[in-house]
């Protein structure tokens, strides 16, 4: 039969390939990633188990003291708390600002929809450093926003909006909002418009429709968007470093400081290992939520 002749000749799916053939194909890539990624990460974690012996030097004896200090000393633990607080604020702002936009993009029949999706994604393709620079002429004491507020008489003296925690929140919301909008748009699109109309025709006001119909049905998207944005917010370095003006100490800026100026590698390595575990666990959780959501729909 013709079909058996074909499958006999198929080199990709049937023997002659020995079972370990594909393992050998995988080997070079696995080796490369092992050497350039996994070895340095293991080395970093090992360094966090030593004490500092002078600037840039690491002692030879193993200890868990770095972790004990980081998790009990109020100064270090405060950095971890501040990082989480930053993540929560950014997630909250992204949800509030992103939800209406996602709803609009999911429901609109406008011919501008494609263009608006393009605009949502486009900031992501412009260098993060450049996007962050743009906040300075906007948020500086002499910048556009303060000029507007002063002209309109909203404030009597310029607000400090940059080189502090506020600036970092604004910058991260801007950088991560597209991820929230796209995640939410996908989920809201799958909700039947009829459900909203049914609720409205039975007398529910817009708020009630939102709280009782839209929000519960879009909850999987809200959760996975929040997890993605939170993880990226606590992992970000460039934005907190630029917009915090060297004054905002979160995990990422603290780690960089230990390696760039303080040269306390064990302390930096400890914070890096904690951030790594935290971010990896959140990413795995986000993937689980996504898989569960895909299985449910």
């Amino acid at each position: 039969m013709a079909s058996t002749a074909i499958s006999e000749k198929s080199a990709w799916r049937s023997p002659p390939r020995r079972p370990d053939f594909w393992l050998w194909v995988l080997l070079p890539t696995a080796l490369v990633l092992g050497v350039i990624f996994f070895a340095p990460i293991v080395d970093l974690i090992l360094a966090s188990l030593h004490e500092m012996a002078g600037p840039g030097q690491v002692s030879t004896s193993f200890t868990l003291a770095n972790y004990r200090t980081f998790l009990t000393d109020p100064f270090y633990f405060g950095i971890l708390l501040r990082t989480c607080w930053l993540g929560l604020l950014v997630v909250g702002c992204c949800l509030i600002v992103g939800y209406p936009v996602a709803y609009y993009l999911a429901r609109t029949q406008s011919r501008w929809r494609g263009f608006l999706l393009f605009l949502t994604i486009s900031p992501l393709l412009i260098s993060a450093v450049v996007r962050n620079m743009g906040w300075f002429p906007l948020l500086d004491q002499a910048g556009l926003v303060n000029w507007l507020l002063l002209e309109l008489g909203v404030v009597s003296s310029p607000l400090r909006l940059i080189n502090n925690f506020t600036g970092v929140v604004i910058g991260l919301v801007h950088a991560l909002l597209p991820f929230m909008i796209l995640t939410l748009t996908t989920v809201i699109q799958r909700i039947d418009v009829d459900l909203e109309e049914a609720a409205a025709s039975l007398g529910a006001g817009p708020w009630r429709v939102f709280w009782r119909v839209l929000l519960p049905l879009s909850l999987p998207g809200v959760v996975s968007g929040a997890l993605i944005v939170f993880t990226m917010a606590i992992s970000a370095y460039t934005t907190p470093a630029i917009l915090g003006g060297n004054r905002v100490l979160v995990m990422a800026t603290y780690i960089a400081q230990q390696f760039r100026t303080v040269l306390n590698y064990p302390a930096g390595g400890t914070a890096a290992a904690i951030l790594l575990v935290f971010a990896a666990m959140l990413t795995i959780l986000a993937l689980r939520v996504r898989t569960a959501e895909a299985a449910g729909s």
Partner: protein, 267 residues
Amino acid sequence: MTRRMALRAVVLAVFAFLLAPVIIVVIASFNGGPILSFPPEEFTLRWFEQIKPSFVDGLYVSLIVATSTALLSIAFGIPAVLALSRGNFPARDALNSILLSPLMVPALVTGVALYQFSLAFWDLTRISLGGTITGLIIGHLTFGIPFAARAMLAGHARFDYALEEAALNLGATPMQTFWRVTIPVLRPSIISGGIFAFVMSLDDVPIALFMGGGNATTLPVRIFTTIEFDFSGDVMAVAAVIVVASVVLMLLLDRLVGIEQLFGARH
């Protein structure tokens, strides 16, 4: 009706927020007065004339590193993707997760890990990787390979094996089948994976900051370390040039591959 208007107003305001910092960079770069003040005082082109050669050097470094990263990510990604998609060996799913796992690690953590590792490597071999182009490419491959692999794994999921069977049946050797059928069929996902690795490499600060230095300093790192201390007009002019170049590239990309598809590779 008013509700719809309110929603539109909110949407407009959010898009203004998304675009504002990018647009203001271009406006500010023509400001002859204090660079951060608004409204601009007088129109000037002087910042563009004052762009330092070090930024042009940085651009060269960035382009070399990003191109090498994209090509090597594809070269290492394709065999891994084929093996993970077609092989039937134990722990395949685990190996798949391990291949993609560098994307879970914050780039800064990878950056400091590589930095420390390059110091240890120098102690052992007296070969210096920090502050070299090679070091930068190695650093960017840590996310380039997984990003490219992810795009290609998604592309390979729709692979039609009948095409390969037909080629083999018609007398093509396995090698011919690979180059003339397999690779062309996977080409769209190979291209979007490569572009993705390229764009991420151009954008990166944390890894290039710790692996670079001296002559091996990328453009974003050059800008980053400059504005850490001093916010001058010529840096704003460099940023304005990057914005315009990015917009042109984006429009080209949108025509060529579709920007949404490209973005889909990220998650």
